[in-house]
Amino acid sequence: MSLLVPIATHLALGAVLAAMFVRYRTTPARDALKDPGDALRHFRLTFPQTRGRATLTADGGAALVELDGRRAVGILARRGGRWSARLLEPGDLRRVAATGDAGLRLMFRDAGWSPVTLLLADTTHRAHWLGRLAPLAVMTEVAPSPGAGYRA
């Protein structure tokens, strides 16, 4: 069977599903984070023993987490209808830049995260997190932390 047949079938399927998504409005609820505690609760689903303080973006669609006693920073971001959490260790960021009024644009060294723009509440928050995240764009050796409870 030519490759064209399954490819054409997939394209037709994509068109049908796209139409159904519009017709039936099946997009899952994109709940915003209610407060820093809510952000930590989501973050702990991936990193169960996290202790720290979360800063929400203005729309509640993401949060940065200051982890107690660690150089790394946690980030929680909504992608579609799900939350993704990760640690930002030294060297994990390719670039951090201020954007717009109070935005931060993060680009990652690994391919698993697309670039993300965080719109913070104000320029004070932005300045704080820019200062906190910029050093993480510099590669340094990561100290081992066995038993920290963070997931691989």
Partner: protein, 314 residues
């Protein structure tokens, strides 16, 4: 060897199965079944599937060359009968189990298979999220033994295709549990939800294709627990719908790790062939370590797989 018509029929069955995706989406949108679809996730699945078809289709001569060469040096010639096909179907399912287990436990092979596990959703369209690099990873060599034994490559290919046809319907949340005897012998949506889950207690479990018996025999069976719903996706979440990132992100991660300064040869080999999550300095956890940490919190040994005992037999 099997008639070419059989392959045509199986090919059309595979495409017809795709119709179940809009059906599941429709029934879910009406609240008639339990299924969660996210437009961007689903469309990413389709894009990844097209990439997989192109890579598989254009590179299938590699697999074909390997198994044909093995068959030319076969130990005996096994005819295509109902009985021999039943035997090769079971043996091919065992090969699938071993291939699947290796694909999860060796990072180089995981870099290929991770694509299938990268969605945080679990519905029939998740089935489409397939690897782009399965022809290159080296595991096509696992096709050699059956051909060398004397099963015609077309027979093995047919068994493999039917295996994949079976696996289509198990990617769903809409089926809770099936009769106990069926759950004991066969792979089911419940068992496969566990396989796609990133909850520590569900990691590295239920590698079966069709027959659940392999997981029960080899100690990798874990039952789904109503009290702990599966959280789908990877231990390290992805945050992208870009098909290229989905297809290649783990290779990029391997390259990054190999580029760490001052590594010894053994450490470099570890980043290629140790279980996913292994690092020379121990700052990340393998799935086994995660299970042990989780089990310690629950108060039992992490390597114990109580569900693997035949207590669940019908």
């Amino acid at each position: 060897m099997p008639d070419a018509l059989l392959f045509t029929v199986v090919g059309y069955v595979q495409m017809a199965l795709l119709l179940l995706i809009p059906l599941e989406l429709y029934l879910a949108s009406r609240g008639l079944i339990n299924a969660t679809y996210d437009p961007r996730d689903t469309l990413a699945n389709i894009a990844v599937s097209i990439g997989s078809i192109v890579c598989w289709g254009t590179m299938s001569f590699l697999l074909l060359g390997v198994v044909t060469a093995a068959y030319q040096h076969r130990l005996m010639s096994i005819p295509f009968t109902g009985l021999t096909f039943a035997i090769v179907f079971v043996l091919e399912d065992l090969r699938y189990y071993l291939w699947h287990r290796i694909s999860h436990r060796v990072r180089w092979f995981w870099a290929s298979h991770v694509v299938h596990h990268s969605s945080q959703h679990f519905n029939l369209s998740t089935n489409l999220r397939q690897s782009w690099t399965s022809q290159f990873s080296g595991l096509i060599l696992m096709g050699v033994p059956l051909a060398y034994l004397g099963f015609h490559p077309a027979m093995v290919g047919l068994a493999f295709s039917l295996n994949l046809v079976y696996q289509f319907w198990i990617h769903t949340e809409s089926v809770t549990r099936l009769p106990a005897w069926f759950e004991w012998w066969f792979n089911t949506p419940s068992h496969h939800r566990v396989h796609h889950a990133s909850n520590p207690r569900y990691l590295d479990a239920n590698y079966a294709g069709v027959f659940m018996i392999w997981d029960r025999l080899f100690g990798s069976f874990v039952a789904e627990h109503a009290a702990e719903p599966a959280r789908y996706g990877l231990v390290r979440d992805l945050s992208t719908f870009n098909p290229l990132r989905i297809a290649f992100h783990e290779y990029v991660a391997i390259a990054r790790d190999l580029g760490r300064p001052g590594l010894r040869t053994g450490q470099r080999l570890g980043y290629l062939f140790a279980p996913p999550g292994w690092t020379h300095a121990g700052e990340r956890h393998t799935t086994r370590e995660l299970r042990e940490l989780d089990a310690a919190q629950r108060g039992h040994r992490g390597d114990a797989r109580p569900d693997a005992l035949p207590s669940g037999a019908p």
